[in-house]
Amino acid sequence: MRYPKKISRKPARFEDIKQEERPLKQLKVSSSLEENLRILKASFKNCNDVIFREFEIGLGRIPAAVIYVDGLVNRLILDNQILKSLMLQAPVFDLNGGEEHVVGACLLSRIKERGLTAGEVKESEELQELANAILSGDVAFFVDGIALALIIGARGWASRNVGEPETESLVRGPREGFTETLRINTALLRRRMKSPDLKMEALQIGTRTKNDVVLAYVDGLVNQEVLQETKRRLQTIEIDGVLESGYIEQLIEDSFLSPFPQMQYTERPDKVIAALLEGRIAIILDGTPFVLIVPATFPQFFQSPEDYYERWIIGSFTRALRIVASYIATFMPAIYIAAVSYHPGLIPTKLLLAIAASREGVPFPPIVEAVMMELSFELFREAGARLPKPIGQTIGIVGGIIIGDAAVSANLASPIMIIVVSVTAIASFTIPAYNLAIGFRLIRFPLMVAAAVLGLYGVMLGFIIINIHMVTMKTFGVSYLSPIVPYQTRDWKDLILRGPLRALLTRPVITGPQDSTRQANRKEKGW
């Protein structure tokens, strides 16, 4: 058995490191093209998707090179706007300027101003920056004899088209959803808000993956404190990579032990715009269609864009229905267990007779029966979610109908329990936010245990504990339960019921927007 040699962790002195092995961070662009290419080739060793294309500019036969990543660059732009114009149309932009030979930075700016017919061009002398640009899909352009390089924007890669959002379907409303490409997403937002006040601040997160993140907000509406806090938290993230906006959510949320989500995610641009107009902030991550909205308060998760697209009576009804459903989804099994095991006196006689009749022959106490059925329901749900779509459909039928019916026939569960479980499940699906619905479904189990141990007293204790938790929770300095706690009468117009649009004159107070007026008070119109 040979022990591996101990690896020395002592850092070598900077002078001892060979030039090409030095980290790119400290290197500037050299005036020699060859030198630059050598360093970058060493840096991009074994990356076969990085292309080095050396060529000569125009008639002056000045050596130059472009470096880009194959697949991230739009070939048309690269060929026509960069190579073609530099190689064939060089005489047009008169490199020699007629009299004296143009050299150095002057030459480069001449190229930039007269030679390149690309939209996005910027100068850089940091090799690290250039490497990043190359990896992001830009083209780096080096000219011999000039200690400066150009970054030419020619990004273009295959991406999913804008399609209907899969997770949030509406009856009425736009059918566009975000895609995995950041630029398309920001464009979708910009399309819906033609105002320079819609700011998009960029930053990169992920020490190794360097994912682009855009912070979108509306200047003049956003609460500066919340904005600063959000930025501060984003900057504290030091992780090798963020693969989905869920990473960001979990790294910057306030209470990671809570079952309740403190950020909203959505695939719908219209939802994001609505949030921005309320003075909230959107965090858009490259590589995922799910945009985060902060700060998210509890009542927000019950809102669906449709509440606002449909007339207010319909919106109010559906929203109130969802709030009732959330209580059902959380407490119904627990209350059933408590009532049957401890307080049959609370149930009307005829109903109790029906329950007793249906429980006749079931060998388990209600808690065992309930946990069993709830768990099997969660199994069906999970199985349906994991399976490919065409097969997933059958799980619902097999699980719900056949197993449920068989369980009743086999006396493993009472029909009433099946009803309770089904109603609970359906109620939890009415909540528009999947993450909150999951939270409710998780709370259900401890509540059921509490009901089995202490009866309704236990359910009440659970309810109180949940309430205490929610009241004390803050998200980005905003109370989670606002406008319920702290109480804001003005915002109740759009809480349980959705008031008529002409009555919603102000933005929610909770985010503390700078400008709280939404629409002018309507003068009497002629109709």
């Binding site: 049959p344 006689t349 109790l352 009749a357 209600p366």
Partner: protein
């Protein structure tokens, strides 16, 4: 902003441990699963000799003395309540009656039932309490005391009294309703249609009545083979049954006390051809009554004012019901019929029972407290001697289709 993860984890661990410890220490002390509770829907109380226990278990009382009281529990058999019995077979009765002998204590009997029923009696859903005549004549207080105190019984239990035995009443297999006790209890809800039995008396009200020591009525229930009849009332003084009222007088009591929700009164039609009697029937829609006591020189008198609105539901002669004069005549006719019914009832109560079930004493106390103080100790005699005048005013609101 956020505590270090170590501290949070420690907190979490502590909370989990505490919760675990708490869970371990609870005994689920009130837990009593539904399938272990013998749901009792009806209780019957009888004198022991009148109602031998069915099914009997010999020597039940051992050395606890002579049986004086039989308590019948009507227990539900949940397996038979549902529409179909699982696994086929004959559908049995959804309930069964268990009669327990007792040496006088109802509470003992309740506990004694657990020696024979594997699901011990659970009393929160009791619907009716039926009391047999013999027991009622001996006095209710000492028998019902246990039920008044029992925390498991609701105060909304309906109380009936029967001239037969409670056991017989509870043994009736109703044709209409699965469970006998549910059937018995739902009869009381028909007050909207008929006034031939007194307003509902539940355990709470009975307790108040007994402890106030006045007179009151309990609905009378008469068993047959497949049905019962709820008609008339038992008249109680203090806690003893002293006699019976029929349906007619029960309505009379309701008229005087103004507790009519429905029911009708009939009168011989004003347009009847002599020798050919035809009837007019009037149904109450609303009725109010006020009792005015008058004291003049030691003489106590009462005036009962009855005001009612209702509709003409039957008019057997061909006269025009829309005739103004005819309507007025009919109203007078009905008023006379109402007055007569009330007067007869009052006279019967004064003459036969000397029991003030109309709460005249209450009216007197409100109006002339000093007089009440003087007469309250022999109120029965004073009531029996009091002059009572009844005046009724009828307003016919509808006559139905006239042609």
């Amino acid at each position: 902003m956020s505590r270090p993860a170590k501290v949070t984890a420690r907190w979490l661990l502590m909370i989990c441990m505490t919760a675990l410890a708490l869970l371990m220490t609870t005994g689920c002390w009130d837990r009593w699963e539904l399938e272990e509770r013998g749901m009792v829907l009806g209780i019957g109380l009888d004198e022991a000799e009148k109602a031998p226990p069915i099914p009997g278990v010999e020597g039940e009382l051992d050395a606890r003395g002579e049986p004086v009281l039989n308590v019948t529990f009507q227990m539900v058999d949940p397996g038979q309540v549902a529409g179909e019995k699982k696994g086929g077979g004959e559908k049995g009765s959804p309930y069964w009656n268990l009669t327990v002998e007792s040496a006088g204590s109802v509470f003992e009997a309740i506990r004694e039932a657990s020696t024979r029923a594997n699901r011990s009696p659970y009393l929160e859903h009791v619907q009716v309490l039926v009391i047999g005549e013999d027991l009622a004549r001996q006095g209710l207080n000492k028998v019902l005391d246990a039920l008044f105190r029992e925390n498991e019984i609701r105060k909304r239990v309906l109380v009936y009294v029967t001239p037969a035995t409670a056991q017989e009443v509870l043994a009736v297999k109703p044709r209409q309703e699965g469970v006998n006790a549910v059937y018995l209890a739902s009869l009381q809800e028909n007050s909207k249609k008929t006034s031939h039995f007194p307003p509902r008396v539940d355990l709470g009200k009975l307790s108040r009545n007994i402890h106030e020591g006045g007179s009151y009525l309990l609905p009378r229930i008469i068993p047959a083979k497949e049905e019962v009849k709820l008609i008339g009332a038992g008249v109680f003084k203090e806690d003893k049954l002293i006699g019976w009222l029929g349906g007619f007088e029960s309505q009379g009591v309701r008229l005087v006390t103004g507790q009519v929700k429905g029911g009708s009164v009939e009168a011989v039609s004003t347009r009847s051809v002599p020798g050919k009697k035809s009837l007019d029937v009037y149904e109450f829609m609303e009725l109010q009554s006020t009792v005015k006591p008058q004291v003049q020189g030691g003489q106590i008198a009462f005036t009962v004012q009855i005001q009612t609105e209702g509709r003409l539901v039957e008019h057997q002669n061909p006269a025009d019901t829309l005739d103004e004069q005819h309507l007025k005549d009919m109203e007078k006719e009905f008023a006379r019929a109402i007055e007569k019914q009330a007067r007869l009832t009052i006279e019967k109560m004064q003459r036969d029972f000397q029991a003030d079930v109309f709460n005249f004493g209450r009216a007197l106390e409100e109006r002339y407290p000093q007089v009440w103080e003087q007469v309250k100790n022999n109120w029965s005699e004073v009531f029996a001697a009091a002059q009572v005048e009844v005046k009724a005013q009828v307003n016919i609101r509808r006559v139905g289709i006239s042609r």
